[in-house]
């Protein structure tokens, strides 16, 4: 197996391979923090969050100053004024939804950038197609076998650990399809040999498996088996169970909050996480999406609170992390007949990190006048999603081959990163 990494072959880690079961977590911690040689030490991590269902970018970050908006959305219009939703005024043109309150300080500190009018050049308004194209990173080719994040992993240019690419989902997302190893796991505590209610039996079974994988003649099974047991010991289940966020961070008790908390756990364990993926649903707001309150407001609050908690929790690790959100398309500029919005074209996304040139709403949006809308109904795509994705990946992960990251694309990265 070419392209598979040598995992923890140095002295400190050999300890784990030799010891059977229960490595004291303090040993693990000491080893993790001090003994691991580069490049594992202090690698950077890019965290991607996919908002499945197509977030209404025009309400999340609303061009409230455009007089057309109120006409298009008579009952969904919001602005910073107290009786119109009390948005956070970002720059006199765009308002931040009150549900995204947790983003406001991050934006003002210049760590959070917003890119508006983002989307795919392929005008498909099907969730499936648009997600597929965005995750494959090839908007006109469905047959691309790999996902863009998997290609990003391949372009890192150094060996990694089994935790290099982790998706907090039950199945591997399209973004992670491909030749480079990626782990899909809902709950980190599942990363162990388990026999419910019978830890002793689990322990014996675990040792038995370790012996068997050690002698198998199949190279792949032998090597991966070794890595699995090494990794399992690193990921001490007590450390995960008892994980305490630092810096007073409080994660919402939600699927996304939980995913981000586990990503934080992995980052702090310093076991080589470089690309992390999480997803959050509920954005397909065809019916009664509400304004300052309602379903979209609730989702936005969970979304921003989870991300803000993660950022707070990152604490001393903040320099290592950049977080980026994405959604397959935006929603119609008009409201529809059922108090919601239908499938549209462009939406907005958020990029958070200390390398980010934040505090700005990057956009090429003209106006919402009907002649400026795509097909007379949608916010047109004025920024290709690849120009944002590549900018973040290139700068944060030091990838420099956009041709491989996004085949068939000749654009350039958007300047949203400091370096």
């Amino acid at each position: 197996m070419v392209n598979r990494r040598i995992f923890m072959r140095n002295g400190a880690m050999a300890l784990f391979a030799a010891g059977l079961g229960g490595v004291p977590s303090f040993v693990a911690r000491a080893a993790n923090n001090k003994k691991i040689i580069p490049p594992y030490k202090k690698n950077k991590t890019m965290v991607c969050i996919f908002q499945r269902g197509a977030m209404d970018g025009l309400m999340a970050v609303s061009p409230y100053a455009d007089p057309n908006l109120k006409i298009l959305r008579p009952s969904l219009y919001m602005s910073p004024s107290a009786n119109e939703g009390k948005m956070f005024d970002l720059d006199g043109r765009f308002g931040l939804h009150p549900g995204l309150a947790a983003f406001d300080p991050l934006f003002r500190e210049g760590r959070l950038a917003i890119v508006h009018g983002v989307g795919s050049p392929n005008n498909s308004r099907s969730h499936f197609d648009a997600q597929d194209y965005m995750e494959a990173g090839t908007p006109f080719n469905k047959g691309t076998a790999s996902g863009w994040l998997n290609r990003a992993v391949g372009l890192l240019g150094h060996e990694g650990t089994p935790f290099r690419a982790v998706s907090l989902t039950s199945a591997l997302p399209r973004s992670f399809y491909g030749d480079n190893e990626a782990l899909a796991i809902n709950n980190l505590q599942d990363f162990a040999i388990q026999m419910r209610g019978n830890p002793m039996a689990a322990n014996i079974a675990s040792k038995s498996f370790e012996q068997l994988y050690d002698v198998t003649s199949s190279q792949l099974l032998n090597k991966t088996g070794k890595e699995s047991f090494d990794a399992m010991k690193m990921l001490n289940s007590n450390d995960i169970k008892n994980y305490q966020p630092t810096n007073g961070a409080v994660y919402p008790n939600s699927a996304l909050g939980n995913s981000l908390k586990q990503i934080a756990t992995l980052i702090k364990m310093n076991i080589g996480l470089e690309v992390a993926f999480a997803e959050v649903g509920g954005w397909d707001t065809h019916f009664n999406q509400g304004t300052a309150n309602g379903s979209l407001a609730r989702n936005l609050k969970d979304f921003s609170d989870s991300i803000a908690a993660f950022w707070k929790d990152m604490d001393a690790h903040q320099d290592e992390v950049t977080l980026m959100t994405m959604t397959e398309f935006g929603r119609t500029a008009h409201q529809n007949g059922t108090g919601g919005t239908d499938h549209g074209r462009a939406s907005c996304l958020f990029v958070l990190g200390n390398d980010v040139a934040g505090g700005k709403v990057y956009n090429n949006i003209k106006s919402l006048a009907i002649q400026d809308l795509e097909d007379g109904r949608d916010l047109p795509v004025t920024t290709d999603f690849r120009s944002v994705f590549s900018a973040v990946a290139d700068s944060h992960l030091k990838i420099n081959d956009d041709k491989k990251l996004f085949p068939e694309w000749n654009g350039t990265g958007l300047k949203i990163m400091k370096s």
Binding site: D129, A145, F191, I193, R196, R377
Partner: protein
């Protein structure tokens, strides 16, 4: 008179003789390609080893005694039976008896399992739910109301359809007697992948597997290619149903008619009116934007036939897409149903057929949406006006192309021989493919007749997919699965959410795709959970597998169950290692201690586990009475015993992952 009759008899006899001789000759030459002679002895395998190997490739795993049965039937005879695929399947029929979706037509499926959004719309229309309260969504009373509404109309949730689809696959694979057909159905489905993740295609996947894949797995490649091309699932999944052109006489005539002009005008009005109904606007925009979609055209060449290096260009992709414009679903299956029915009242099918329209079951060729101009595909000229037959010609051309022969034979060899089949084998198979114009059966026979199939480099060389692992465990233990969906959940955990693979490539058939740290641990946990019966709805009788003989020690249990679960594999080294571990770790004593210790019920311990501990205690007490020697025999009692653990370890072991 007599003479005449004699002469007639004679001549008839003579004709018959000549005819039958000719037939025989014909049969012989035909038979040659379809005759089975497996060179396993030459390759150094015993009958039993050969039987175990062929079972590992063309079934979802050997059941207890399968090896003996195959040897007794004769390996070639057994394979011939599998090729014929006519064995009775009563067990499967019985297990599927309550699955009411499996025989439905597409039309009936759509009518029975509407999309969630349609139900919501209906609920609003019926005033059952207020459109302003929809988002208070998950409240029980809301759910109840929707349920009542669905009952009223006889609707069922799409999840139920998917559940039946998933479960039937597991049941057929685990209990079907025509295993070769099951394995090939799995193979071809993955080759022509469609996905439940795409809502438009999801309702048709059950019939796709049933009607387009399953009956065609051993026929001509062209047949299965055509069947998939025309099936609603594929037409939706790769968007060919939306790929249209108005570059034809019918559309031109329509456009220039008064009605056509009016329609055009109206569409523009809707689009330019800021106050127009958004749904109307969406439809109008959709109509305006429609045109060529190359997705299917690209994938039929790249993934289904020629392969990515098969020698086609982007120009060919566009040309194939043009040739397939108008290939669509029967309008009865789409939202255009009513419009289509209305239109039909103005005309007749005869008239439409004369214009070039074709309706074939659920497939529809819309002549008015077909690009009628000349095309050049892979160097061949298709003259103007070929209509429906042009697409058929393209399919034939692709199916019998030398690149397709190479591509398909390689994929088959990778699935059934090894991850790295030799060039020599591939060349030979491609030759057979081309000689037989793509006969899949002939290719498979040639493959099994080859030395390489039986060679050392092929034995145990393949890594089971999670589905293969799960089903082979069921088969190896004669397990009774009452809740197949639980098996699916484990497959997902192990990395194979089948029917949900999003990309048209299908799951990669590569060991390194299936084996990574997380997936491997899940496989081990699956083995343990499965054998100790922690998976709900699965019953196993491990003692019965050993004729209810109780092994004398853990060592003995290891040897015995290794043989049962992994027939014809050399397990000496594994057993040695584990025996050593058992000694070093003093496993028996630990189990003893645990049995003696006060039963501490921890939070996670469920009632079932408690019973185990109690059983152990009782067993031990009983043993101590009978026997002064303090051996721990937790094995006997049920499956939550040491035996179950041993079986679990074997199923999670590396050897069991191989086939």
């Amino acid at each position: 008179m007599k003479l005449q009759r004699m002469f007639m008899c004679f001549s008839a006899g003579f004709v018959f003789f000549v005819f039958s001789a000719f037939m025989q000759l014909n049969n012989n030459s035909k038979n040659e390609k379809y005759a089975l002679h497996f060179p396993y002895k030459k390759m150094g395998l015993t009958d039993r080893q050969a039987a175990a190997h062929i079972l590992s490739r063309f079934t979802f795993g050997a059941k207890p005694n399968d090896v003996d049965a195959v040897v007794n039937t004769g390996i070639e005879n057994w394979f011939q039976q599998q090729l014929d695929g006519k064995l009775a399947d009563d067990d499967v029929a019985q297990r599927l008896a309550s699955y009411d979706a499996l025989n439905l037509s597409n039309e009936k499926i759509i009518a029975t399992y509407p999309r969630q959004s349609e139900i919501l719309r209906l609920a609003i229309k019926e005033g059952i739910i207020n459109k302003d309260s929809v988002n208070k969504g998950n409240k029980p009373e809301y759910k109840q109301q929707v349920k009542a509404l669905m009952d009223k109309y006889g609707y069922k949730a799409p999840q139920e359809l998917y559940r039946q689809l998933i479960n039937q696959k597991i049941i057929r694979a685990a209990y079907g007697n025509n295993q070769l057909h099951e394995v090939l159905t799995d193979f071809w489905f993955n080759h022509f992948n469609v996905s439940l993740t795409k809502e438009q295609c999801a309702p048709f996947i059950l019939t796709y597997e049933r009607d387009a894949i399953r009956p065609n797995v051993l026929g001509n490649f062209e047949t299965i290619l055509e069947a998939t091309a025309k099936h609603p699932a594929m037409l939706e999944y790769l968007d060919n149903a939306t790929s249209v052109s108005n570059d034809n006489d019918i559309a031109r005539k329509q456009r220039n008619s008064v009605a056509g002009q009016r329609a055009e005008q109206r569409m523009d009005e809707i689009l330019n009116n800021p106050n127009a109904n958004p749904l109307q606007k969406q439809i109008a925009a959709g109509k305006k934007n429609q045109g060529l979609n190359e997705n299917y055209a690209r994938e039929i060449m790249e993934l289904h036939t020629l392969g990515v290096d098969g020698g086609y260009t982007q120009k060919d992709v566009t040309e194939v897409a043009r040739a397939l414009t108008g290939w669509a679903l029967n309008p009865d299956l789409t939202f255009a149903k009513q419009v289509a029915q209305k239109l039909m009242s103005f005309t007749t099918w005869d008239k439409m057929a004369k214009q070039g329209f074709v309706k074939e079951g659920d497939f529809f060729f819309a002549a008015n949406k077909h690009d009628q101009n000349e095309k050049i595909i892979l160097g061949k000229k298709f003259s103007m006006g070929g209509g429906y037959y042009e697409g058929m010609e393209v399919i034939k051309m692709l199916a019998t192309h030398p690149s397709t022969a190479k591509f398909i034979c390689k994929k088959l060899a990778i699935r059934f021989v090894s991850d790295n089949p030799s060039q020599e084998l591939l060349d030979n198979l491609s030759k057979i493919y081309l000689q037989t114009k793509g006969n899949i059966k002939a290719v498979i026979i040639a493959m099994v007749n080859s030395d390489e199939f039986w060679g050392k480099d092929a034995l145990r060389e393949k890594i089971k997919s999670p589905f293969e692992l799960a089903v082979s465990s069921i088969r190896a233990t004669n397990a009774d699965v009452q809740q197949p969906f639980q098996v699916f959940n484990w497959c997902v955990k192990m990395g194979q959410k089948f029917y949900y693979y999003q990309a048209p490539t299908g799951f990669p058939d590569k060991a390194s795709y299936w084996i990574n740290t997380g997936a491997l641990l899940s496989r081990m946990n699956f083995g343990l959970a499965f054998a100790t019966q922690k998976i709900p709805g699965i019953k196993i009788n491990l003692a019965a597998l050993n004729n209810n003989h109780e092994p004398e020690s853990i060592d003995a249990a290891l040897v015995t169950y290794s043989k049962i679960l992994l027939p014809e594999r050399n397990q000496d080294e594994n057993i040695k290692r584990l025996s050593q571990l058992i000694k070093e770790e003093d496993v028996e004593k630990k189990i003893d201690n645990a049995a003696n210790a006060n039963v501490v019920v921890n939070k996670d311990t469920n009632a079932e586990d408690e019973t185990i501990m109690m059983n152990k205690k009782e067993e031990k007490a009983a043993l101590n009475k009978k026997n002064a020697k303090p051996i721990t025999t937790a094995y006997v009692q049920g499956n939550n015993s040491t035996i179950a653990q041993v079986a679990g370890i074997i199923i999670g072991s590396p050897e069991f992952q191989r086939r």
